[in-house]
């Protein structure tokens, strides 16, 4: 099997390398990729949409339909992970508790549990690490700054590299940091499953909602210029605000899906223990 794989790889690799004979040289400004529609985007982006970052204006305005389905794809990935893995019924397995004042570990067999209202016992993972002051404090301090930076990245997608996807991933990472530094149950208590599901659908809804508002105002789907009829700005600034609106939708959806995928994959669907 490995020899056959090596043969296939060498054959297809050789074929691809032979095909590079016809490629334009690296860094050629007159290569066919840079000749047709991309100079038009570069020259017209600032005057038509008011957004200097050409990547953002292509992503959210000129090719906005594509980005809407990309957001739908990542939403479907979150849904797929949830539906494949999530188990809701309580597992009848052994649970471990730790008595906080004395540090004694209690092993409760067979699915019975100490009710969570008792303050002296905390539920611990089967692989338990002791409380580390540095990691817990530093990650708790870092989370608001990470989120602030993520909101900065989303909001400044117009003028610097950034945008919805990048900021959304950083927002998701801020919650996963809490899940890794503490444990999964703490992160789920902070950002529950229900609000997570609502937010992932809300992001896609905001994106297609802005497109639908454009249709209701009389133009085509996702033509942000018609938003100038309800917002008191010019047509160019209406396109810029439409781009910001869809980037916010994308950021919300990506954050919720990142957290959903992490929760379900790291705990195998049971949401009781994490990494």
């Amino acid at each position: 099997m490995k020899k056959l794989a090596l043969l296939i790889v060498i054959l297809s690799g050789g074929l691809l390398l032979y095909a590079t004979k016809d490629f334009p040289p690296w860094g050629d400004p007159h290569s066919p990729a840079s000749m047709h529609v991309s100079p038009r985007y570069l020259m017209k982006s600032l005057e038509e949409t008011g957004v200097p970052n050409v990547v953002t204006s292509i992503l959210a305005d000129y090719r906005g339909y594509d980005t809407m389905f990309e957001t739908t794809v990542i939403f479907c990935a979150g849904i797929a992970c949830f539906m494949l893995l999530r188990k809701f019924e309580a597992q009848s397995k052994d649970v471990y508790y730790r008595h906080i004042p004395t540090g004694i570990t209690i092993h409760v067999k067979g699915g019975k549990q100490i009710p969570p209202t008792s303050k002296e016992f905390e539920k611990i993972d089967a692989i338990w690490t002791p409380y580390d002051l540095i990691i817990n404090t530093v990650s708790r301090f870092l989370v608001p700054f990470i989120q602030l930076f993520a909101l900065y990245v989303i909001a400044h997608g117009h003028h610097s590299p950034g945008g919805g996807f990048q900021g959304g991933v950083i927002l998701g990472a801020s919650i996963i940091v809490v899940a890794i530094a503490f444990n999964l149950r703490t992160a789920i208590k902070r950002f529950g499953e229900k609000i997570d599901g609502i937010m992932s659908a809300l992001g896609v809804f905001i994106y297609s909602g802005i497109g639908a508002i454009c249709v209701l105002l009389g133009a085509e789907f996702l033509n942000y210029g018609t938003l100038a009829r309800i917002l008191p700005v010019s047509k160019i600034m209406a396109r810029s605000h439409g781009i910001l609106g869809v980037e916010i939708g994308v950021g919300i959806a990506v954050m919720a899906v990142m957290v959903c995928i992490y929760n379900n994959v790291a705990s195998e669907g049971k949401h009781d223990e994490g990494l």
Binding site: L6, T20, W26, I74, A77, V265
Partner: protein
Amino acid sequence: MEFLFTHLVAKYNFWLYIVLMMIGLYAMIAKNNLIKKLVGMNIFQTAIILFYVSVGSKKGGTIPIIEHGAGHTPHGIDPAHYVNPLPHVLMLTAIVVSVSTFGVALALAIKIYQRYKTLEEDEILTRIRES
């Protein structure tokens, strides 16, 4: 020989990415463990993304953010001055899709492990044939 030299030196980025693609393809076909196959798929996707982004680069070009000062609009934007933004945009979509497929593939691998108690491909095939 000089012809080969021109092609090899002028387009060495394409050759590097094709080598990376073939490494990923080999891992997907030849490795037995499911997680190693997934890592090979990820390497393949990363090589494709790098390949496309390198197609859009221009010699001496800067990032595709139009230089604008405070309060003056530039006239005469030279497209040869900026790197081609279109492959960057398409590859943003490709990165998001690769993350999604990796997440779902990991979920499927967990389900396979829960059912067959192994992640090696030949053992899984044996247990499928037995049951």
